[in-house]
Each structure stands twice: as structure tokens, then as C-alpha cells.
Amino acid sequence: MMRTKQSPKGLLLAAVALAVMAAVPLHAQDDPFAAPAAVVEETTAVLTDTAGDVAVVATEAVAVVAPEEPAEEPTPVEAFWSGKEAEQAIFTVNNLWICLAAALVFLMHLGFSAVESGLTQSKNTTNVLFKNVFIICMGLLAYAAYGFNAMYPGDNWSIPGWFAMGSPIANGFTESDAIVANLTSEYNAGYTIWGDFIFQAMFAATAATIISGAVAERIKLGSFMLAATIIVAFAYPITGSWEWGGGWLSEDFIDFAGSSLVHAFGGYAALAAVLVLGPRAGKYVDGKIKPILGHSMPLATIGVFLLFLGWFGFNGGSVLSADPVLVSLVFVTTALAGAAGGLAAAFTSWTVLKKPDLSMSLNGMLAGLVGITAGADSIAPWPAVLVGAISGIIVVFSVLMFDRLKIDDPVGAISVHGICGNWGTIAVGIFGAGVLSTQIIGTVAISAFAFIFSLVTFGVIKAIFGLRVSAEEEEQGLDIGEHGQEAYPDFVANK
């Protein structure tokens, strides 16, 4: 999802993709888009398969071949406003796609709501749902008020490459806004600033949602809301700016749609939160793990399918244009990795746990999707299957491991988003266009920042306001304790 700096040519990626193909760079005059492109590392690995193998061709050569910055080339936005209808049409398609992708990512918040409430107890359902409603509402507003400009600072860094102060998005179209269709002239993605903002804003709230699942069934509502707001508004844009905002990681590190920047970020923030908060009462008794059952498998399944659907927008929209080759390739790698993750987790649980476990298979689908997120545009279809399958295996063992470590994560968020987010980022260094060491540095840096920031945030809030509901409230359920409102008042619950 990184917007290429200064020389943004969203629509040229496909051309380059072609060019790199078979490692036979096309000459500029053969390029169907009539202009060679520079910095396009993320999109090259896909083209590696001349001989039908899963070979990866390094792309630096191409980046060298292509002359940097042909000054006379108009940006997509300039092209749009140039009055040429063909350019306007392409701009319009790109913009429509980014808006639709934003809508699909919005739907992921329903997906999270459903998964999280399905995999927790009915006495906490209202609370889980309320938190999710809060997160998407707060997330959009906080990103508008501060985060967007902190994540995409252009030249306005406070600490160059590391930190930028945020500010509210502009309230209307200034003339220059309209011309560059973006916040600053540093970024230019070929669609309007509004499309850009709404897509990024939908992403932002995701991190908090990931935490929400892991801390469910025992966290004080007010304390959670405070922590979530701080993390979404301030922490997420920081790591975001490192990579997508053009910061210190943006040069070589590859994280296409956020295996690290969104998922590992959320997963490690969740891990810290769980460590500060402790496990649910009754989960670990006398050294034994006692399962606390999710109350509705249909709800969990609805959630995962909606997340899968939303991922087409999450990854597909991260192409940042409607480029036909890249968007459709991303759809394929995303779907195949999710499918492979689901199957792998199903068979892993069947083998290891003796029964095919639905909740694990659902986690596996998500794990596969998280895994492919960093390289959805640069990993070929069959390696994508492999990346997804490995994610699906990892997630089962990771869930078992965290349980053994008495780290209580009701929905498996740390494993799905944290561990598989790491794996997915690293996989780009194996199967995709990335360099392994850089990928490791990047994902560790982002995960560590998220973990520490979250540890401090939850730690301080715990010290000041307390973090856990009382034992009585936990037993009775947070629905009554925090909201005085049951989720299913017509039905008799077992306990």
C-alpha cells in the first residue's frame, strides 16, 4: 500500500510487470503505457515465471534500466485535469476502485465483530459488539483528526523518517488539493484525496479491532476505549509512516498491504495487552487449560467469510489503482492463500487434535489471508498457496502454544495476526520480491514498537484506572456489568 514517492505511476506497474517478465526488459518504446517506471520493487516477483517454475527474479536490474523520473511525464492527476477523456476515464476507474475497496474494508469491521462475538460467551456479546461499534466510529474520526497526516506527512516530518505530528484533514478542496488530488505533493496515487483518505482510514481502525478480540470477556470498557483510541490515533500512524509514509523502512522493506503494518502491529499490541491484563477467570485452573467455549459458530463463520470478502478490498485496493494485471493477480493470490490456510488448518487440527476443528479452520483461513498480505502482488499463485498453507499450519500450533504459555487469547488474534503477520512479511523475502534480512528487520521493528507502545499504554491505564472488571462482573458477564443489556434476553443460557 506504499505510495511511490515523487514518481508515482500506479498505472505503469503493469507495464513494468510485463517488462520484467522473463527478465527481458522491454525498451521504452515498446512499453504499452509509453513511459518506463522507476521504484516498483513490489510488483516484480510475479513475472518470474518464464519457464513455468517458481523462480524469483530479482528486480533491481529493471529499476536501473528504467530511467528515473522522466520529468515531462504528467502525474495521473495532472492527466485527469488535462481534459483528455481517456485519462479521465482511467482516473475515474482507479478512484472508483479505491472507494469500493474502502467499502470492502469497512465490511471487515463487521467481520471482526462477528468473529469476536461468535468465539466468546453469550454473556459478553453485547460488550464485544459495543467495542467493535466504538472502534470503527472512533477509528475513522481519529484518523481524520490526526492520524492521516501523521502517517503521510510528506515533507513535514518531526523526526525525519521516524515521526511526524498529525493534524486534521483539510475541510474542503483548496485549489492545490484538487490539482494534486492529494494531501501533499509528495504522494500521488492517481485518485482523489478523499478516496485516499477513506481507504486508509478504514485500515486504521483494524489494529484496535485485533486487540479487542484478544482482551475480550474481562477488560473494563472505559479503559479499553481509552487504550484503543491512543493506539489507533498515535501508534498506528507512526509505524505506518515508516513504510507507507516514506519513512526509514520505505526504501527496501516490502509490506504490500500490511502483514506487518496492520496485522503484526495489531497482534503484538494485543499480546502486550493480554500480558498486562491476564487470562480470563477459569481458563487456567491448577495448571490445566479449561476451554471457554465460543457461543455461536454461525456468527464466527459469518465473520470469517466477511473478512475474506473484505480482504479483496484490503489487498486489492492496496494496488492503489485498478491496474488490471495487479488487481486480478492480487485477487488470485489472496483467494488461494486464504483457501490453503483454511484447508491446512483443518487437516492440521484433524491430525493433531483428532477432530476437524471448525474454529481452527476459520482461524486458518484468516491466517492464510494475513500471510499473503505482505506479498499479494509479488508472490506467484502457487507460492501463494504455499504461504497460505504454512500460515494455516502455524496458526494451529501457535494457538496451542499461547494456551500452554497461559496467554489467554479467546479468538486467536495474536496467532492469526501477530505470528502469521510476521511469517507473511518474511515470506516476501523467500517467495516474493523482498530481501530476507530486510523483511525480518522490518517486521521485528514494527512488532516490537507495537508491543512496547501497547505495553506502556495498557500498563499506565491499568495503574491509573484499572484494567479488569471485578471477578463478580466477569462471572456474571460484561453485558450486564458494563451495559445492563443482555444480548439474547429471550433465550436461556446454560450458565
Binding site: I289, P291, S349, D357
Partner: protein
């Protein structure tokens, strides 16, 4: 009067009801219960952790009935509910001192 309480397997409810109706018994009250007994529960697994479900679903039928009908009713229940497999359940008989039909204030055997 006697109260007959029968704990039976859920899928036998229909047959037991019919057997009682055949005896001319016109009223009964049924509830869902969970039984613990010689019939063992089953092990389930959730996200990698095993746990045992000790309590199995059963149906409790309560019939309050005139003393003289008690034996016949008990026999009918036992016959209809029997599968011969473990977990078939129990019948308990206990004394009832008075019964009242709310609608009519009738009492005693007329009330049931």
C-alpha cells in the same frame, strides 16, 4: 395422590406421552434436564483443549395422578421409555398431599 417423575431419553418423549394418553391421563408437565449417571458423557475438544461433557440431555416428565392409577402409569412409562441401553433413566414416585386446578378451584383427584 402421587407424583410420578420420570427421567427419560429425549427421543422417547413422544412414545411416553402417547402411552400415558392411552391410559386416559390428560395432563403432564415436561422439562429439559441434564442427567449424570452410569451412562458416561463424551469428550469434546475446543481449540486444542479437551473437556468432558458429563451431563447428557434428558427429559423429565412429571405427572400427578390419583393413587390407584399410579402403578399403571408407571408401568406404561417404563415400557415406553425402555431401550435396554444404559441411560434409559429412572422413575420416582412420591406423595402429593393436595392438587388444585387454578381455573376452577377444584381440588384432589378431580384437579389432575
Amino acid at each position: 395422590m402421587k407424583k410420578i417423575e420420570a427421567i427419560i431419553k429425549p427421543f422417547k418423549l413422544e412414545e411416553v406421552k402417547d402411552a400415558l394418553a392411552d391410559l386416559g391421563i390428560e395432563g403432564m408437565t415436561v422439562s429439559e434436564v441434564k442427567g449424570f449417571g452410569r451412562q458416561k458423557g463424551h469428550t469434546e475438544i475446543y481449540r486444542g483443549s479437551e473437556y468432558t461433557v458429563d451431563f447428557l440431555p434428558k427429559i423429565k416428565i412429571e405427572v400427578v395422578i390419583a393413587d390407584e392409577l399410579a402403578e399403571k402409569a408407571t408401568g406404561a412409562i417404563v415400557k415406553a421409555a425402555k431401550t435396554g441401553k444404559i441411560g434409559d433413566g429412572k422413575v420416582f414416585i412420591s406423595p402429593v398431599e393436595e392438587a388444585i386446578r387454578i381455573r376452577t378451584d377444584e381440588t384432589g383427584d378431580k384437579a389432575v
